[in-house]
Amino acid sequence: MAKSIDVSDVNIYYGDFLAVEGVNMTIRAGAVTAFIGPSGCGKSTFLRSLNRMHEVIPGARVEGKIVVDGQDLYEPGVDPVAVRRQVGMVFQRPNPFPTMSIYDNVLAGLKLNAGKMKKSAADDIVEKSLRGANLWNEVKDRLNKPGMGLSGGQQQRLCIARAIAVEPQILLMDEPCSALDPISTSAIEDLIHELKNEFTIVIVTHNMQQAARVSDDTGFFNLKATGEPGHLVEFNPTKKMFANPDDPATEAYISGRFG
């Protein structure tokens, strides 16, 4: 089930360094939300705070409220492990587990939750997830081969299959196409369109055309100045953002006058 995310007054720190300041937004359920902005503006950092992956870095912490389905993810007593099972993530570089086969990679997350599974049930989930990631036809004859043997684009789709196999409510994607060629990128973008029927998708991208192609809403992050924290400049429907943005800084960035 897709769920919306309500973000209010979020500050994100690395130790004492304030990296992202004062973010407020509502990410709609069952839609694709893209974050754009120059390098170092904190969009990836913010994305990682949505499934509590930010705090994996020593000293990193988050202030404020991020509410999914009525539950504040940062309330004391909320287990980050449980959060990550509800909010899946796809990384910048494809990272299938190198010692596992394609089949085991897809099931990796489920095995954590469910323990033993019937072989037929496991087969069904693998097929469903790989079909969901548009990879089934390419790999169905070599499911027991290592995942690292696939091409970069296939590996990234394998990682998406692995993430959707656990049926999260929300799927985060951190520049999922930045290491891929245009054809693989196009395959992933098509996939994002299909996935948004089932999941709330949040994607960070450096590619503004990509944001325009795949997203329903767009958030523009920027730095006030070097060394200052990043902040959310504007959050609007993508159509409005690219046609008639509210903020002149957004327009300058989108039209290529800076960044």
Binding site: R84, F97, P98, L112, K145
Partner: protein
């Protein structure tokens, strides 16, 4: 950039790599020499052992006496002693070392991990004689109650009970020797496995965490598979040290010649290395040949164990690479 003036003659491009050639050749030669050196040293040791030890296999019965009549009868108890002590050491040290390495690399905050790692490394710098003294005069006595407890509580159990027969009243059993060996091989296994654990790519660790893995599940999914080869290397180096260690065993163990399953017995067969150290001074020329022959056996056994371990690791990796 300024336009090239007519006066300055263009240096004609030099397509031969004369400059890089010399340095590269020296370095390649040095690296190759180092590689060949280790092979030559290994072959040299083997040839020495084979030549000097060959006659040791077939001496008259009295040379092997008073406790054995043939080379096999002489070396088998020693082999058993060697491997018993080493296996006990590995059983204790390996889980402990992996645990410590994991804490240092993945669990403890930096201000704990760094000093702990340093202390563990220091353990490796303590000479083995010191461990031997400590084991013989301090640890053995302290372990007497443990010997009694093991005998009383585990002795009656079938099969396992055979390992815990009559206890050694002074605590100088092969179990104590194994424990001292375990402490000696702990630092090397810890240091190497810590290094390989911390080399696990962050990307893979985050992939596991993002799927909702706990810290331990993340370790099992990414750190262990990634480190498997290095972990085996660490264990093999530790085993190598345990097999070849003389002082700790010589000083701790009260030596006997009867084979038994009892690892807390009053006396147990010593190890090959300790036996050589003990007998070397009082040798006859014949006995020296026998000692060298036992050394050859140890050399081959170590080689074999290493080879088998490598093969097992390699097999699982080859399976994945298919």
């Amino acid at each position: 950039m300024t336009a090239p003036t007519a006066e300055v003659e263009d240096a004609s491009a030099n397509w031969a790599t004369a400059r890089a050639g010399v340095g590269d050749r020296i370095f390649a030669g040095a690296a190759r020499a180092a590689g060949l050196m280790i092979l030559a040293a290994l072959a040299g040791v083997f040839i020495f052992l084979a030549i000097k030890g060959a006659s040791g296999f077939t001496k008259p019965a009295e040379v092997y006496g008073p406790h054995a009549e043939s080379f096999v009868g002489y070396v088998v108890p020693l082999l058993v002693g060697t491997f018993t002590a080493s296996i006990i050491a590995l059983i204790i040290a390996v889980p402990l070392a992996f645990g410590i390495a994991l804490v240092i690399s993945h669990y403890a905050p930096k201000w704990v991990a760094v000093p702990v790692a340093y202390v563990i490394d220091l353990l490796a710098a303590v000479p083995s004689v010191v461990y031997g003294l400590w084991g013989a005069f301090f640890l053995a006595k302290k372990l007497v109650p443990m010997h009694v407890w093991l005998h009383e509580n585990l002795g009656p159990i079938p099969v396992i009970g055979n390992l815990f027969g009559e206890p050694n009243p002074a605590g100088r059993s092969i179990l104590t020797a194994g424990i001292v060996l375990a402490i000696m091989i702990l630092p090397i296994i810890t240091a190497i496995s810590r290094e390989v654990f911390s080399r696990t790519p962050r990307l893979h660790e985050e992939a596991a965490l993002a799927l909702g893995a706990t810290r331990w599940e993340m370790v099992r999914m990414t750190v262990f598979p990634y480190s498997r080869s290095g972990m085996v290397s660490a264990v093999m180096l530790g085993l190598g040290r345990a097999l070849g260690e003389t002082m700790a065993v010589t000083m701790v163990l009260s030596v006997g010649f009867d084979l038994s399953w009892n690892i807390i017995a009053t006396s147990s067969p010593t190890s090959i290395a300790a036996n050589i150290a003990l007998k070397y001074k009082e040798r006859s020329a014949d006995l020296l040949n026998v000692l060298v022959a036992t050394g050859l056996v140890l050399f081959l056994m170590t080689f074999l164990v290493n080879f088998i371990a490598r093969w097992i690791v390699g097999r699982s990796e080859r399976r994945m690479a298919r």
